[in-house]
C-alpha cells in the first residue's frame, strides 16, 4: 500500500526532513512511527498527503508515485486518506455533524447518504448523541474523536494520524488508540506518528523508529 524507496526530503531552507528512507506498509497494517521531536515523523505524513514532495527517491501510495503526481490529482489522492491532527482542526462555526460531513459534501453525496454515513462515523467514536452540539461544548478527548470521525467518514483506505494523543491524558489516549484499532479491524491501513513510547509499547504493533530523518528500527514495539 505504501512504499518508500530511498525517499529523501530536504526543505528549501536546507533542513533535512528525511534521509533516503525505505520501507513498505501492507494493506490493512497498523503501524506506529516514532522518534524524538524533529526526527521526521510529520515530514513523512506530509509526504504521504502530498503536502510536500520528495526531493529524491520513489514514494508509492496505492501504486501512485507521489514524486510525480500532478496538482490536479492531489485532491483525488487525498480522498483515499483520512487525517487526524494533534490540534484536531475542527471548525468551530458549525456543529459536530457538519464537521464530520465535510469530506462527504466535497464528494457531493446526496444528503440522506451523508446523514447515514455521518451517524455511522459518530457511532464508531461513540459520539452519536453529540451530533448537533458545537465542538466547543465538547471535552478535548471528545473533540479529538470528532476529528477521527471526520477522518474515517469517507471510508479511506489509509488513515494517518500525527500525534493524535499529544494533548490527552493517558486514559483518554488509550481510549483514542482503541478507536484506531477498531477502525483498523474494518480493513483500513492505519499509520500513527507518536512519540508516546509508553503507549505504543502497550499496543504491540509494528513500529518504525526514526532518528534525524533515518530509519533506525522496524519491528514490534517492546
Amino acid at each position: 500500500m505504501i512504499r518508500f524507496e530511498q525517499v529523501a526530503k530536504r526543505y528549501p531552507n536546507g533542513h533535512v526532513g528525511l534521509h533516503e528512507l525505505s520501507f513498505r506498509v501492507r494493506r490493512g497494517e497498523f503501524l506506529f512511527v516514532t522518534g524524538h521531536s524533529g526526527a521526521g515523523k510529520s515530514t513523512m505524513l506530509r509526504l504521504l498527503l502530498a503536502m510536500e514532495r520528495p526531493s529524491a527517491g520513489k514514494l508509492l501510495l496505492a501504486g501512485q508515485d507521489l514524486a510525480t503526481i500532478t496538482n490536479s490529482q492531489i485532491p483525488f489522492l487525498r480522498r483515499q486518506i483520512g487525517v487526524v491532527f494533534q490540534n484536531h482542526q475542527l471548525l468551530f462555526d458549525r456543529s459536530v455533524f457538519a464537521n464530520v460531513a465535510l469530506p462527504l459534501q466535497i464528494l457531493g453525496l446526496p444528503q440522506d447518504e451523508i446523514n447515514q454515513r455521518v451517524s455511522l462515523a459518530l457511532e464508531r467514536v461513540s459520539l452519536k448523541d453529540k451530533a448537533l452540539q458545537a465542538p466547543t461544548d465538547l471535552s478535548t478527548g471528545q473533540q479529538q474523536r470528532v476529528g477521527i470521525a471526520r477522518a474515517i467518514v469517507h471510508q479511506p483506505a489509509l488513515l494517518l494520524a500525527d500525534e493524535p494523543t499529544g494533548n490527552l491524558d493517558p486514559r483518554l489516549a488509550a481510549e483514542i488508540m482503541s478507536v484506531f484499532e477498531d477502525i483498523n479491524q474494518l480493513g483500513t491501513t492505519v499509520l500513527i506518528a507518536s512519540h508516546d513510547l509508553a503507549l505504543i509499547a502497550r499496543m504491540r504493533h509494528r513500529m518504525l523508529t526514526l532518528q534525524r530523518g533515518r530509519l533506525i528500527g522496524d519491528g514490534e514495539a517492546v
Partner: protein, 338 residues
C-alpha cells in the same frame, strides 16, 4: 488485535491505478454522468446558499461593500447617461447651425428661389429658405426700430439670402458644405457660425475622455474593494480551507463559495447602482426641466434605458466575479498546502 493486520499486498488490490474511482466505489457510486452532474449541481447549490447566508449574517458590512460598488458603478454610468442626453440636446440645437448665403444684389427672386430649390435637394441640407431683398429690409426695419429712417433710403442696400439648415452636425462635413455653397454662382458670401458646434464637440469629447478615465479608475477601485473584502473572508476561513484541501477538496471547490460571494456583491451592488441612477436622474430631471422651460425648451432627461440597466448589472456581476477570482487566486496559494 493484530490478527487482521498482515494481508498480502496483491497488485490487483491496489487502489492507485485510477485514483479517482476506487475510493468512491466504496461509497455510493459517484461515477457516471448523472451522478457527477448531480454532485456538481449540489456543490454549486450548497456554495451559493452558504455564501448568501454568510453575507446576510453580516448585513452592515455587506451593505457597505455593495454601496461602495454601487457608487463606483453609478458615477461613470450616470455621467455617461448625462453626456448622451446632452449630445441629443446637441442634435436639437443643430437647427441653430445655419449657413447664410448672401447673393449678389442683382440676383432676383426667380434666381433666388431656383437656387434655394437646388440647395434644398443637397443630401446634407435639411432645409433651405429664400429671403428676398424686400423681406430682409422689412425684417431689418422691424428689428432695428429704424423703420422710418430706412424708408428714406433711395435703394434697398440689403442682398437677398438663402438660409440653409444643414443635416449634419459633423464639423468637417459642415465646412465642406460651406465651401460647396460658397462656390455657387452669384453667391457673394457664405457665413457659418461654427463656434458653438466646436465647443459642444470639444466638451462632449472631453466629457467622454473624463468618463473613460474615471471608469478605469473606479473599476480598479472596485476590483480592489471586492478583492479586499474577499481576502478578509478567505482569512477568516483559513482553517476551513486547509481542512477542505486536506480532505480532498479541489481548488475549484475551495474557490467556489468566494466566487459566489463576488458575484453576489456584484449583483446587489449593480441593483443598487441602478436604483441610485434611476432616482438620481429623476431628481436631477426636475431642475433640468425647469431650467429648460426658462429657455423655452421641452428638454428633459431620459431615465436609465433598460438595456443600459442590464449591461450595468452584467458588468457589476462580472466585476464582482473577477475581483473575487483575483483575490482567491492570489491568496489561496500562499495559504494552504498544495
Amino acid at each position: 488485535m493484530s490478527s487482521a493486520r498482515v494481508t498480502p499486498d496483491q497488485p490487483g488490490e491496489r487502489v492507485g491505478a485510477t485514483t479517482k474511482n476506487q475510493v468512491q466505489a466504496t461509497l455510493s457510486d459517484t461515477r457516471g454522468f448523472r451522478n457527477q452532474l448531480r454532485a456538481w449541481l449540489e456543490n454549486h447549490r450548497a456554495s451559493c446558499v452558504d455564501s448568501t447566508s454568510r453575507l446576510v449574517r453580516q448585513p452592515l458590512g455587506s451593505f457597505f461593500t455593495c454601496l461602495v460598488m454601487a457608487v463606483a458603478l453609478s458615477l461613470p454610468m450616470g455621467l455617461a447617461l448625462l453626456l448622451e442626453n446632452v449630445s441629443q440636446l446637441g442634435g436639437s440645437w443643430q437647427r441653430a447651425a445655419q449657413i447664410s448665403l448672401f447673393l449678389e444684389l442683382d440676383a432676383g427672386d426667380t434666381y433666388g428661389e431656383l437656387l434655394r430649390d437646388k440647395i434644398a435637394e443637397h443630401e446634407h441640407v435639411a432645409e433651405a429658405q429664400w429671403i428676398s431683398r424686400e423681406q430682409a429690409l422689412t425684417e431689418f426695419q422691424e428689428q432695428s426700430g429704424l423703420g422710418e429712417a430706412l424708408r428714406e433710403l433711395p435703394d434697398n442696400p440689403l442682398p437677398g439670402s438663402i438660409l440653409v439648415t444643414p443635416e449634419v452636425i459633423d464639423k468637417d462635413a459642415l465646412v465642406a458644405l460651406l465651401d460647396e455653397l460658397k462656390n455657387m454662382p452669384k453667391v457673394q458670401q457664405a457665413q457659418l457660425d461654427l463656434m458653438w458646434i466646436e465647443r459642444l464637440a470639444a466638451i462632449l469629447q472631453m466629457g467622454e475622455q473624463f468618463i473613460f478615465g474615471l471608469s478605469v479608475l473606479l473599476i480598479a477601485a472596485l476590483l480592489l474593494v471586492v478583492g479586499n473584502t474577499i481576502r478578509l473572508h478567505i482569512e477568516n476561513r483559513r482553517t476551513e480551507i486547509e481542512v477542505i484541501k486536506l480532505v480532498g477538496g479541489t481548488d475549484g471547490y475551495v474557490r467556489r463559495p468566494f466566487l459566489y460571494m463576488g458575484v453576489l456583491y456584484g449583483l446587489v451592488g449593480g441593483v443598487m447602482a441602478w436604483l441610485l441612477l434611476a432616482y438620481g436622474l429623476n431628481w436631477l430631471n426636475d431642475s433640468v426641466v425647469q431650467l429648460a422651460q426658462l429657455y423655452g425648451s421641452e428638454f428633459s432627461l431620459s431615465g436609465v434605458p433598460i438595456e443600459d440597466g442590464f449591461s450595468l448589472l452584467l458588468g457589476a456581476v462580472l466585476l464582482g466575479y473577477i475581483g473575487a477570482w483575483l483575490a482567491v487566486a492570489r491568496h489561496l496559494r500562499e495559504l494552504s498546502p498544495r
